[in-house]
Structure formats: C-alpha cells, structure tokens
Symmetry: C2
Subunit: 337 residues, 2 copies
Amino acid sequence: MSAPSKISSKASDLPGISQIEAAAGRIAGVAVQTPLLESPLLNRRLGGRIFIKPEMLQRTGSFKFRGAYNRISQLSADERRRGVVAFSSGNHAQGVAHAAELLGVPAVIVMPKDAPAIKVANTRSYGAEVVLYDREKEDREAIGRAIAEERGSILVPPYDDPHIIAGQGTVGLEIAQQMQSLGLVPDQVATGASGGGLIAGVSTAIKAYFAGCRVYVAEPEGFTDHGLSLARGERTANPAPARSFCDALLAPMPGEITFAINSRTLAGAVSATDLEVEEAIRVCFSDLKLVAEPGGAVALAAALNGTLDCRERISVLILSGGNVDPELFRDILDRRA
Amino acid sequence: MSAPSKISSKASDLPGISQIEAAAGRIAGVAVQTPLLESPLLNRRLGGRIFIKPEMLQRTGSFKFRGAYNRISQLSADERRRGVVAFSSGNHAQGVAHAAELLGVPAVIVMPKDAPAIKVANTRSYGAEVVLYDREKEDREAIGRAIAEERGSILVPPYDDPHIIAGQGTVGLEIAQQMQSLGLVPDQVATGASGGGLIAGVSTAIKAYFAGCRVYVAEPEGFTDHGLSLARGERTANPAPARSFCDALLAPMPGEITFAINSRTLAGAVSATDLEVEEAIRVCFSDLKLVAEPGGAVALAAALNGTLDCRERISVLILSGGNVDPELFRDILDRRA
C-alpha cells in the first residue's frame, strides 16, 4: 500500500488525458515507444485479433520508468539536489533509480530482502543506494519516510500520485494512437494491477480515444482486491492471506486516487492462477519471443484461460514487465519441456 | 547454398535503395516495424551506445517474413494459383509459409529432419505442406526443384534473389530512418549472415543513408565463409567440416548476388564461438527481455567478445530471429544459473 496521499481524490484533481499528453511530451525521446505486436499464432489460439503492448521492452524492463521519469523530471532544482526515496518490490525501484540517474538525482530505494535478485542487482547498477527490509517484520513505508525526513528527500510513491498515474497513462496513449494508425477500434484492453496506477492511467487514455472500449483489470488468484473493490464500490483489501509468484502484483488494496479513477473507468475484473500465468509466460516465449515476468503476464493468462473472452474481438493486452530471474524462467520452461 | 540464380550479378541488376523502398511500401501495415531499443545495461557493459533491432519480434519470429512477402506479393495471379515452394532450415520456411498464407498462395516447404521442432511445427501451423529430408543423404535443392517442376510452382529462394534481398533490406531502411529520427549517425552496424541476403539488403540501405557507416558481418566460428570471401575477394566456402548450434547460419558459402553486393558494401567480418553466442542469448534475456535464437545472437556475441569494438561508438546490432526450442533455451539459462 502506498503512503497516504495528501492529494484528495476529487474528480477535478484526478489526472486526465491532458496530463497524460504532457507526460508523453516529457518522456519523448527518453522512454521507449514500445510497439504494438500482433501474432498470428496467438490470434489463432484465441480466435480473435490480439495486440500485445510489450512493456518489458521499456527501459528498466517494465512500464514503471514512465511514471518515475514523469515525476522526477518535474522536481525543482532544490528538490533534485535533496534526492528521491522510493519503496518497491522491484520494478518501481528500477524505474525510479534509472530515471533519477538520467536526471542526475540521488536515489535511495527500500526493497524487500526476498525481491528477485535481478531486480535488486539492476537497481544498484543504476546507481541507487538500496536499503533492504524484512517483508514480514518491518514496515517499508516507515523506513522510507524516516529516510525522507532525515535527508529531506522526496518520496516517489509507486502508484497513488497523479504524476505517476499520468506517466503510466502514456502506455494507454500510445496504444490509442497505434490503434488509430492501424485504423482499428479496440473492443477491450486488459492489464494487471497492484496498486492500480498503470490501469488508472491506461483506462483514462483509452476512454478519451475510444469511449466504448472496455478496460479490464487482470489479477492473480488470491489478490483480487481490485475486482472486489469494483464489485463493492469501495476500496477493499485482499480477503485472506494468500501466496502468488506474481511478486509485482501483491499490494494489499487499491490506492485512493487510483480507485477514484478505476471505479469510473473499468468494465470489470478477470483473474488467473499461478499455473495459468506460467502457461502465459511460455506462450510469450514461443509465440512472441518476449521474456515476461509473472506479474507481467496476468492479462495474457486471463485471455488464455478464457475469463477474458477474446473470440471475434479486437483485444489489447499489456505485458507490463520482464524482470524475472533466470532460475525461475528455466523452471517454468522446464515444466512443459 | 541457394539454387543457382538465372539473374546475373551485374551491378545494374543488383537491388538498390529504390527497390528496398518499394519493398517497404509492399510490407507496410503487414510486417511489424520493429523498434530500435537502447538498453542502459548493455551500454554500460560495452562502453558505447548500443541500439538493438529485434527482428525476433517480426511476424514468424525472424526477419525472413519481409523478403518472402516482398517476393510472393509480386507473383502474377497465375503464379499464385500454382503456389510456391521453398527449402529452408526453418526461418525462411516460416516466412514463406506465413506470407503465402496471408496472400492466399499454396506453399510446400522442404525442411531438414533435424530442424528445431518449433520451426517445423510453426511452418505447418501457417498452413504449409512440409516435406522433410535427410540433411546428410539428400539434396534439398533437387527435392525442391522436382516439386516445382511437377506442380509448376514458383521456387522462392532463401537469399540469392533481388526481391528477397530488397525485402530483407527494409530492416536496414527502418534502422536508417529510426537513427535519423533520433538525430544520430551510426558508426557501425552488424548482423549475422548465412547466404548473406539480410546483410546485402541492410548494407545497401545503410550506405544509402550513412555512407561512412561500417557494416560488419558476424559469423559463428567454423562458418566464416563471408569473412574468407571478403578477404580473398571471391566467393569461398567454409574451410572444413564444422559444427555450430547456430542452425540458421550454416550455408556453405555466400550467394552470387549477395556476394556481389557484400563485397562492395561490407567493412569486414567478426565472429563468435557457440559458448559466446550462449552468453549473448543470456544477455538478451536479462538486459533486453528478448528471446534470441543462436543464429540471431551472433552480432551481439561478437560485440560482447570484443571482436566488434563498441567502445565510444554508436553501434546497431541486428538480432535476426528468436525461434529456439524451449529445451535448448532452458539449458542455456541453466549453464549460468
């Protein structure tokens, strides 16, 4: 869960398409404009036209770079000097570390000790100072806040922040523009969600271009807090202690700002088990030649298990990241091979 | 080695930038315009700016679709009715099969029995009839030619054909345009070669935009026929029986037309061992989130082993394909993991 935001979630404060367009201007020439890929093999599997937005090809291996760069690039000279601090299971960590590095801003990242080794190593390689904590016993927000207070540095929250949401929304803006240039109107768009920043930005952009397009949140079984929240009309935590290997999607409940957006924009929720996510990772490997991490493949897993019906529809599936350790990836290939 | 071409290799007959631009028009909206990816991790490893052209993201998982579509889309109605035939270890097979499928043309593909299973299965899934042969005992050209004569179908050669070369050249045209839009001038471009169709087209396009850019052919150790041919100034076969797991790059010597081009456009040759190619595949996995097949990773392997010096230079490396069996990929990850 993110730090409580000082920003209220009145509709007038929520980032809209103009904030997303401004973010696109800030990240232009720095972030990768990821392609929209269509695979004939995947179309055949699913009986519709499937377009993949491969955000593992983004700098740092996930979409998180977009929001981090949009946020940090707007800091004042004084704020930049004091540096930034972030807490993250890994992808936000790398996004903040690399965006800070490019902008010449010192960064401290608070990460769980059990985060994938590749995420910790990469975060350090972008020049950030990494502080590890115990996920079971320590409070990452308290650690992050203490560092921020001690050094006067700026906390860059993982999702519940209008600038972060606007930055992630550039994924949706690119999808909308890419579909337009193909002369197509998407019937549905799906992506995973942890705190909901990506899907809040994406759904805002998609709805601005294609008002009738349905946007679905895809969640790992046991972490269906967005689906529950949509059904109840209020922010609701995951029901009971659960486990999933989708390490990027384990936030306990939607953010305040993100839910204020998503409760208006989303058409519903779909989900997949870890075994189904593994199969989606194998399909990414064989049909798309892309390395997906578990949390990055949930939307495709929901398409493959049929909870997201893609038959005779035009669907866009966001693959949000690819930071997976080689040992796990090898084991996933092994379970079929 | 390709079928002997009836087309002479006089300079006036060689495909130039205008043929490549025409090919780009034919494949527009059908082929994927693959992105140009820059990885900060890879830049740091190699001490320069590295741009990756990921052709594993192309339809059918390799660049081969471009040339095949450019060739088959120019057949007459009568020729289309009679169908096409091709012989290939796998990537050209899939490219021809899928291009033919999209254009409503029947296709027969002659493939070696020991081709990677994924390449055979995918070729069939695109609707082609697959005829398997024994690489040690049978002559694929004779088999292909017999089928062509019997059915009156059109042979689509893998590389020694101006339309194939022009189609593959669209990879270079895209690189040139993408570098221009970044405001950059590449110092060097490298890609693997089997018969040399891709690099002939790429070097033609690159030289048309950036006359001073050096284009290098990257080859697996033991299959350095392009390097030998460049050094001697004439088409020269691989020296002795050798083995490499780069199944896409095992042609015995350069093509006639391709060598007529490459002998004028290339700056030199670089090479890598199979073990170095394995390391390049792991770097693709970790730094780029891309699935590369052995033959697709040789240019990166030559950059990593230092034979292609990338320090303080702007380099473009083409990763030409990603059709690798999961068992092999798992083993490659395993050898480090």
